[in-house]
């Protein structure tokens, strides 16, 4: 065991991008030393002076080694302080923590990536890695659902990916507006229509817990093996070191055996309320 890293390392905000109303992407560079290596799906604890720390997934390209990229939604005091940072602001960083999306285990397989709302942020590093090594994978499918068209994250990048002919992108919204020509309805409903080669498919799902529960069930119904379906779980998180007890989900500490977990290991718990 190693001594628990409780003190954040100082980082400086290099660039910010307002993605949506209340959602900001931050690029952070270390005040000293190098950016630690991370795997897609991992998260950091970001600290705003005097306000506190929040678990925020890394949303940047794992191949880009000179900064940490995080996309933050303003939910309360801490996330708002983080999202309101400006270029030059110092923030604290502890991490990276947690398990990774199985990008290596997915090699040779078709991959379905399913995101709901801000869930696209933790999946983005996996998507970028898959696209960078496109020949290693079979069919790539991205399903993305948001509440409404103006809540679609990384819109520009989605358009860019759509222009590639080697990835299927399906976007759906719960509530359409007049300008919307795409799908309307919840993400899990799209799954049966994908014509998956289920024997050779691996899935990565990130979004609200109910959405992941329905996606897991729909993928399983479509014939995808439960142990090839991966979900990113969320629970209240304080220390990210397995010491504070907050992120327990049944017998799992999300910070240790998550956030990315296998559906066969969590399906039973997802069916229960208030676990």
């Amino acid at each position: 065991m190693k001594a628990a890293p409780l003190r954040p390392a100082p980082y400086r905000v290099r660039r910010i991008k307002r993605e949506l109303h209340g959602v900001t992407t931050l690029e952070l560079v270390p005040a000293q030393g190098a950016v630690p290596a991370f795997e897609p799906g991992q998260f950091n604890m970001l600290y705003a002076f005097g306000v506190g720390e929040a678990a925020i997934s890394i949303s940047g390209d794992p191949a880009q080694a000179d900064c940490l990229t995080h996309t933050v939604r303003e939910m309360g005091a801490i996330s708002t302080a983080l999202a309101q940072a400006h270029p030059g602001t110092m923030l604290g960083v502890r991490g990276p923590f947690g398990t990774a999306w199985p990008t290596r285990a997915a090699e040779g397989l078709d991959v379905v990536l399913i995101a709901g709302g801000l869930g696209l942020a933790p999946l983005r590093p996996a998507i970028l890695r898959l696209l960078a090594a496109r020949p290693l994978y079979g069919r790539l499918i991205l399903l993305y659902g948001a509440r409404s068209p103006n809540e679609l994250l990384y819109r520009h990048e989605l358009e860019h990916w759509r222009q590639r002919l080697d990835v299927d992108i399906h976007v759906t919204v719960d509530y359409a507006d007049a300008g919307w020509h795409g799908n309307v309805g919840v993400v899990p409903r799209l799954i049966p229509r994908l014509g998956l080669d289920a024997q050779n498919t691996l899935a990565m799902v990130c979004g609200p817990e109910v959405m992941m529960r329905f996606c897991g069930a729909a993928l399983h119904d479509a014939g995808v093996a439960m142990d090839r379906i991966h979900l990113s779980m969320e629970r209240n998180m304080k220390c990210a070191l397995g010491l504070c007890g907050h992120c327990q989900f049944g017998a799992d500490f999300i910070c240790k055996t998550g956030a990315v977990m296998r559906y066969d290991q969590v399906a039973q718990r997802l069916r229960l309320r208030e676990i």
């Binding site: 628990a4 100082p10 506190g52 007890g245 907050h246 208030e274 676990i275």
Partner: protein, 382 residues
Amino acid sequence: MGEEYRLTLAGLQALLDALGARGYHILGPRLRDEAIIYDEVTKLADLPAGWTDRQEAGQYRMERRADNALFGYALGPQAWRRFLQPPRHTLWRARRADPAADDFDILPADTAPPKFAFLGVRACELHAISIQDRILRDNAYADASYTARRAEAFFIAVNCGMAGGTCFCASMGTGPTAQTGYDLALTELLDATRHEFLIRAGSARGAALLAILPHTPANEADRAQEAAILADTAQHMGRTLETNGLKERLQANLEDPHWDEIATRCLSCGNCTMVCPTCFCTTLEDHTNLAGTEAVREQRWDSCFTLDFSYIHGDSVRAGIAARYRHWLTHKLANWVDQFGEMGCVGCGRCLTWCPAAIDITAEAAAIGRATHDQEDQHGNA
């Protein structure tokens, strides 16, 4: 176990003096506010001579004993946890030149660990500390403050001469006799003819200290008297808990209506988590000074009975009391086994005694899944 010796009352005072001379801050049982608490002890007169405790679910009362036993009680409300993992503790401070400054520095808090000697540690409490070791010291990440305090501490166990009304260490295999984890262990031998202790060393530093105390070898009669006391204690546990198949039964019955029934009684006050010697959950809090130039990060004990504990996305995952009690009990007696290889309960009985609603973990654990259990029994008998 090391060899046994006899130690007189004067010898016990010599032990306190020797620890004091070695710079230990000695903590032991004292009578305060009608309870046994752990606080500074330097003289035998500080100990609760002649006092005992009467415990039942939701009840704790100090009573006079017929003799002058120094350790003639079962357990008070406080566990040693508060000295190894303090209820509130500063982790670090941050400073910036003015509230508008972008930059800040993070400075470590003072971390020189206090040097404690714990006098009167019960077998169940030693076991609880070994459970916390697995979580806070031997885990993927070690809590540096706990690890340092733990390494410094000197443990003087006292084997139990009586079981409390809510004790069930015999069921949990954690007592009443201290087996490991102590530097010195005492058994109080008290009758009409003498008031002495049987003492044995459990570590090299314990043996070194024992060597300089006035002591004489124990004889067969001393050992027989000790064995009789400990056998009697083990036979008079106030509670029992059947642990066979318990983990599986709890994990298979997460939707038992009995959880809802418990919720009609449980006040969600969190007392059980505050007195439990294995509970380890903490939260982190940040504060700033009025000028906005200094920030501090503190670690504080937390309880899974609060709504904040499971708060995400504007709501609590475990909004209902049934879910919170279920989380607590299934953690102690089931999920802990998956996480750390043993149950997170040592049978000290504190959570029963200090529950204002007299909720009894042994009774509730026995009741969960009983309906399905009985059905299976009937099938089995048919």
